[in-house]
């Protein structure tokens, strides 16, 4: 596998903190949805936290990410404010997008989070344009586009690979392969190995276990080094698994199962990225139970605070949308 740097203890603990924050936040959002507290549906990334955490660990504040409809984890890992995330998903004015975007559109441009996207694959061209801006700026910043295995079947993947390679853009493609495109197992809709699609463009690729956060971190160290040293784009295919339903309303719309209970529980039991890292830290005597419990408590406290903040938020007034259509200014 590419990448010969490994995360040190403090970096591992940081990865654990990020993953636990995402996990806690999403478990809370799932519960909130079931309790009828959310105006819309949510797509959760439970079980996939290692991708968000490992990828974003290597990004600076000025680097940009384009994310997906399943983007809460990417948002938090890139430094997005948990309070503003919760308030957004609760549809409150204190939300990062003033309650105008909701779960599928969480974005914080001031932190380089240039948008989750409700259109599968649409982040690819946007990230390509952002990477063009990085290249023109010439300040060493880069853009990461995170997209699903389902999105890989959109034509814009080929188009973006072509331009990124042709122009040697500082763009990292991260395919977060969670095994499913909505209710279709990947094998039923996707031919071949996704990362192979980048190879004919001369883009270096690496397939990584997306549930092993240290491995994701290692591959990211290679990819960011490659890109920041001006060698053009790179492609990572992170293989992971979606534990929850496609979205939290799925049981209302899908009646035939498209995967087995055993498969899900196997991944949950044996491959959980958080449990795996915790186990590794214990095995190596790098953290004891008390330290690990403290990290978990910390994440839970942040989520409690965020949910309370969101619940106490204000509701946008009925005509608030109109004010957000145009900047209305000129240079």
């Amino acid at each position: 596998m590419k990448g010969n740097l490994s995360p040190d203890v403090s970096q591992c603990l940081k990865l654990l903190r990020t993953m636990l924050l995402i996990r806690n936040a999403e478990e809370r959002l799932g519960a909130d949805f079931r309790d009828g507290k959310l105006p819309g549906g949510v797509h959760l990334s439970i079980g996939q936290e290692a991708v968000a955490a490992g990828v974003c660990a290597h990004l600076d504040a000025g680097d940009q990410i384009a994310s997906t409809h399943r983007g809460h984890g990417h948002f938090l890992a890139k430094g997005g404010d948990p309070r503003a995330l919760f308030a957004e998903i609760y549809g409150k004015r204190e939300g990062i997008c003033r309650g105008m975007g909701g779960s599928m559109h969480v974005a914080d441009f001031s932190r380089g989070i240039i948008g989750a996207n409700g259109i599968v694959g649409a982040g690819l061209p946007i990230a390509t344009g952002a990477a063009l801006a990085n290249q023109l700026d010439g300040d060493g910043q880069m853009t990461v586009c995170i997209f699903g295995d389902g999105a890989s079947n959109q034509g814009v993947l080929m188009e973006s690979l072509n331009i990124a390679s042709l122009w040697q853009l500082p763009l990292l493609f991260v395919c977060e392969h969670n095994g499913f495109c909505q209710f279709s197992p990947a094998a039923t809709v996707t031919a071949g190995t996704i990362s192979d699609r980048a190879k004919p463009f001369g883009i270096p690729v690496e397939v990584v276990d997306g549930n092993d956060v240290r491995a994701v971190w290692r591959v990211m160290a290679w990819a960011t080094d490659h890109i920041r040293s001006g060698q053009g784009p790179a492609f990572i295919e992170a293989r992971t698994y979606r534990i929850n339903n496609h979205f939290e309303r799925e049981h209302l719309v899908v009646t035939t199962p498209y995967r087995s209970e055993e498969e899900v529980s196997e991944w949950r039991r044996d491959r959980d990225p958080i449990a795996q890292l915790q186990q590794w830290l214990r095995d190596k005597s790098l953290a004891d139970d008390a330290a690990l419990a403290a990290i978990a408590d910390e994440a839970a406290a942040v989520v409690d605070d965020s949910a309370a903040f969101a619940a106490a938020g204000t509701v946008p007034h009925a005509n608030e949308g109109a004010g957000f259509m145009f900047a209305g200014t000129y240079s």
């Binding site: 940009q64 384009a66 939300g95 990062i96 997008c97 003033r98 309650g99 105008m100 975007g101 559109h105 974005a107 914080d108 441009f109 001031s110 240039i114 948008g115 996207n117 409700g118 259109i119 649409a122 690819l124 061209p125 946007i126 990230a127 390509t128 344009g129 952002a130 990477a131 063009l132 801006a133 990085n134 023109l136 700026d137 853009t143 034509g155 814009v156 188009e159 973006s160 072509n162 331009i163 042709l166 122009w167 949308g321 004010g323 957000f324 259509m325 145009f326 900047a327 209305g328 200014t329 000129y330 240079s331």
Partner: protein, 327 residues
């Protein structure tokens, strides 16, 4: 004043704005060679950093325009033929039109999409459309439609300076047309129509390519003693409703001339606005001269039969005015 061609006006606007602001970049398919001539030569002045030929991949180009604009650049994307807007529609309709609201106003998207629209040159049905309706309906995007070189230059400069997305639709096949353009720097504001001829009998409203036929018709009608108030919309979104209503009130008889297919056209929207806001000033039903709900054929006679022309406008105006005289 200088007398220059339509494409020169566009080219000069681009040149001036690229000189004014380093952040202005231009990309699109063959913008170096430039099929219409409007971007020709810019590569020599501004270099391949800021002027880039792209691969053919419209959906990626429109999305890239959004990404680069969101990251601090002032983007001009040339889409070539307006039909290719359909090919790249996700970046336009789902991204550039939506991102500001979805982000709660965090982001501004200073970007201009240029395309050449309209029929009349046997370019056949996939290179002849007038896609006003789909872009006017998006919200979040301004739509500018110049009818002459002066407005082409002034509107494009405003579009490039605008911190919101603008679709700039140039009438196809009219690049060589000459017009007077002021020597000094000027901007044509977005969202302002122009009254280009005064008259008390009938009001003709046109935009872009239909202004030439509309003005021809006004000349012909003047020969018959019918005086036309003529308005050039110049922008379709925002639409200058006040000027259109005032012009309608001048005569009480309105004909809207639009090269779109009739259903949900710019003309039908304008008619709806006037029916709402100027009903009391109207003396007759509003007429629309548009393209029937048909794709534009290749064969010249079959194509021109469908397009608005001066004779159709004259006939409609004469009927409206004469009907008024009888009652």
């Amino acid at each position: 004043m200088v007398r220059i061609r339509f494409i020169q006006a566009i080219n000069t606007a681009l040149r001036e704005e690229m000189q004014r602001d380093d952040k202005v970049i231009l990309f699109g398919e063959d913008v170096e060679a430039s099929i219409f001539g409007d971007t020709r030569g810019l590569i020599d002045t501004f270099g391949s950093r800021r002027v880039r030929n792209t691969p053919i991949c419209e959906n990626t180009l429109t999305g890239m325009a959004v990404g680069a604009a969101a990251s601090g650049y002032r983007v001009v994307l040339h889409m070539m033929f307006a039909n290719f807007i359909y090919t790249g529609f996700d970046g336009i309709a789902n991204q550039m039109a939506r991102m500001r609201l979805m982000s709660g106003g965090q982001v501004q998207l200073p970007l201009t999409v240029i395309a050449s629209y309209g029929g009349g040159r046997s370019n056949a049905a996939q290179h002849s459309d007038t896609p006003f309706a789909p872009v006017m309906n998006l919200g979040g995007i301004h739509v500018a439609v110049p009818a002459n070189p002066a407005d082409a230059k002034g509107l494009l400069k405003s579009a490039i300076r605008c911190n919101d997305p603008v679709i700039f639709l140039e009438p196809g096949g009219r690049g060589g047309e000459l017009g007077d353009v002021p020597d000094e720097e000027y901007l044509t504001p977005l969202g302002e129509a122009a009254v280009v001829r005064r008259g008390g009998d009938v009001t003709l409203i046109g935009m872009g390519s239909t202004m030439r036929t509309t003005l021809q018709a006004a000349d012909m009608l003047a020969g018959d003693g019918i005086e036309c108030e003529v308005v050039d919309c110049r922008s379709l979104a925002p639409l200058d409703e006040a000027t259109l209503c005032a012009a309608a009130a001048c005569t009480g008889r309105v004909i809207v001339v639009d090269e779109s297919r009739d259903r949900c056209s710019a003309a039908s929207h304008i008619a709806a606005v006037l029916a709402d806001r100027a009903f009391g000033d109207l003396r007759a039903p509003i007429k629309r001269i548009t393209v029937p709900d048909c794709s534009l054929p290749y064969a010249p006679a079959s194509e021109s039969h469908l397009l608005p022309d001066a004779d159709k406008i004259v006939a409609a105006a004469t009927t409206l005015v004469r009907a008024g005289e009888v009652t």
